[in-house]
């Protein structure tokens, strides 16, 4: 499937799930900071993507939870540790490497949500549907 075709479907999925306008959804839009997604929305988005693309998204694959939940090996003093960063890179091979590098430079846990952009979802779906 082409990037554009996936992007259009992801966009309409987010418009439905988050009740946002079409033009708010851009490739760089962050789900939480820009589109107002809350924790329950992530589950809703996963359900919708599965229906829309006919794929199975195992729990924690698109939105890894282990680091969010403040595992002491992964998070210390509000920052993601080197081990946590390695875990992120391993669990999220579909993340934009440039975005990960930017986060790694100042890995405050609070900013981790910024990694979850519209583009990240499109790249994830691409990795699933080939």
């Amino acid at each position: 499937m082409e990037y554009e075709a996936i992007y259009d479907k992801v966009k309409s999925t987010l418009v439905d799930a988050l009740n946002v306008d079409d033009d708010q959804v851009t490739p760089d839009a962050r789900l939480q900071a820009d589109l107002g997604a809350e924790s329950i929305d992530f589950l809703d988005i996963v359900f919708r993507l599965e229906r829309e693309f006919g794929i199975k998204i195992p729990r924690g694959e698109l939105f890894p939870e282990s680091i969010f939940q403040g595992d002491p090996a992964f998070v210390a003093d509000g920052k993601v540790t080197d081990k946590g960063l390695a875990e992120l890179r391993e669990k999220m091979p579909f993340a934009d490497p440039a975005a990960l590098d930017k986060f790694a430079a100042d890995p405050e846990l609070e900013k981790m949500g910024d990694l979850f952009t519209v583009n990240l979802i499109v790249r994830y779906i691409q990795s699933k549907v080939g």
Partner: protein, 159 residues
């Protein structure tokens, strides 16, 4: 306070669909103030009835072991007002049923007329965390809801 916004189930097919009815009576408290001289069933209470119909359908799918909570209403459309004397029919169909939660599509009709339709997303509370917070007691399916569950089971019996 009684918080039951459906009267009985009329059809129940496990993991698929449930239908319940609600008879609107002039004697109900909400009509006193909503509105004086012009009783209208408050729209959120219609939505609550649909959520109870769908919530019991979702709860029954796992023998009421999960704590099913209304997590989100992604969309709801109200087509017309409902008044005392009408019988509302709530129908909930399961769209998605997963270990983490479920999605239903529901509609409310009065006779042949569509009153309201909505999509409702239910989450199953995390088993470990809710055990710590609430213990074994399933506070969602207790008390008056249990009575409705009995009616749901009756409606599920083959005729």
């Amino acid at each position: 306070m009684r918080w039951i916004w459906i009267d009985r189930f009329t059809a129940f097919e496990s993991k698929k669909t449930a239908t319940a009815v609600k008879c609107l009576s002039q004697a109900e408290d909400q009509f006193g103030e909503h509105f004086p001289g012009f009783p209208v069933m408050p729209a959120p209470l219609i939505l609550e009835g649909l959520a109870q119909t769908g919530g019991i359908l979702v709860g029954e799918a796992n023998d009421f072991r999960e704590k099913v909570v209304l997590a989100k209403v992604p969309s709801a459309k109200f087509h017309r007002e409902a008044h005392p004397g009408e019988t509302l029919t709530y129908t909930a169909d399961i769209v998605d049923l997963r270990p983490e939660g479920a999605v239903i599509k529901g509609r409310v009709t009065s006779g042949a007329e569509l009153v309201m339709e909505a999509e409702i997303f239910f989450a199953h509370l995390d088993q470990n965390r809710s055990q710590q917070l609430f213990g074994d007691h399933n506070f969602v399916f207790s008390g008056e809801l249990k009575y409705l569950l009995g009616l749901a089971k009756q409606a599920a019996q083959p005729q």
